[in-house]
């Protein structure tokens, strides 16, 4: 791996989006190359600084002016009879759009986080999975001799039945 390769993979490396072997290659190169190591550090620091800046700016937003403006806009708006159209003042719409962009950026830069409240059991990935009600499996390809397939109607469980004198020789 050369410095040019690392330069191209820098962003993906910092975001840990590279496949493990490539991640390791970049890390190995950076371990022996001060320039690339410096570049990785700079980019990491830059992203951290942008995230911190966005977080600060979002926290400084005065949200108290938003809802009165929205209420006022709703009061002034004529009743909708046909197609839906925007009647909020441009300033309100701009604030709402800015807030949405800032919140999205903040979430994006912070990445996935979990906040545990004392006394509450944190939800695990396993419990968030949809409940399985069916055991329906599918066959994409099957080879062999004397094979029959059947499925239990209620659960969808499949059985592949091989008659004892079936089978084919190994190739």
């Amino acid at each position: 791996m050369t410095c040019t390769d690392v330069e191209q993979l820098l962003g993906a490396f910092v975001d840990t989006e590279l496949p493990p072997p490539q991640l390791l290659d970049v890390a190995r190169h950076a371990a022996t190359c001060m320039a690339c190591d410096g570049a990785i550090r700079e980019l990491t620091e830059l992203r951290g600084a942008v995230a911190a800046l966005l977080e600060r700016e979002v926290r400084q937003l005065d949200l108290s002016r938003i809802w009165p403006a929205v209420d006022a806009a709703i009061d002034q708006a004529p009743p909708l009879t046909g197609a839906v159209h925007s009647s909020a003042p441009a300033a309100t719409r701009m604030w709402a759009a800015l807030l949405a962009v800032a919140a999205t950026a903040l979430l994006w830069f912070q990445g996935p986080t979990t906040h545990h409240q004392p006394g509450k059991t944190p939800m695990t990935i396993a419990s968030a999975r949809p409940t399985r009600t069916s055991n329906q499996s599918a066959i994409d390809r099957i080879a062999g001799r004397g094979i029959t397939m059947r499925r239990e109607p209620k659960s969808g469980t499949m059985i592949i039945w091989v008659s004892s004198n079936g089978g084919e020789g190994a190739r």
Binding site: I40, R132, T157
Partner: protein, 151 residues
Amino acid sequence: MKHATGPTLVVVSALLLIAAGAGAQTLDIHVTTVRAADTGPCDPQLEAMRPRLRKLAGYRAYQLLAEQQRRVPWRNTEAFDLGDGRSLVLLPKGMVDERVMMQVRLLEGRRRLVDTNVRLVNGGTMVFGLGRDARAADGALLILLRAEDNR
């Protein structure tokens, strides 16, 4: 000193990330072998499954022969010895729409009895039956295969 520890930290972080990724990318495979017969006692452990097995295989009595559970890395071939020279060879390929895509080969010695590519519901079970016929009097061997992604 500052520069000497920096690259080391990067390498260690990368290795930790790789190790975490590799640890998460496995599949729990359960292979249960059951002897099915028309007469005889039913194993208490299989009593709850008996109605379903009966609908699937057509036999009345079921005896648990062996249970094997392994954590198998994706895209790695894993062979389960079923006894009597038979084996179940699995190659988990990946997850698509909460289904485990897997190549399954049932071998008797070197003979391939079944060679199939299946899409098994994550955490679901499928069954292989080995005998003369589902309702033959001389019994059969059932192989229950369950796969669950533990990412």
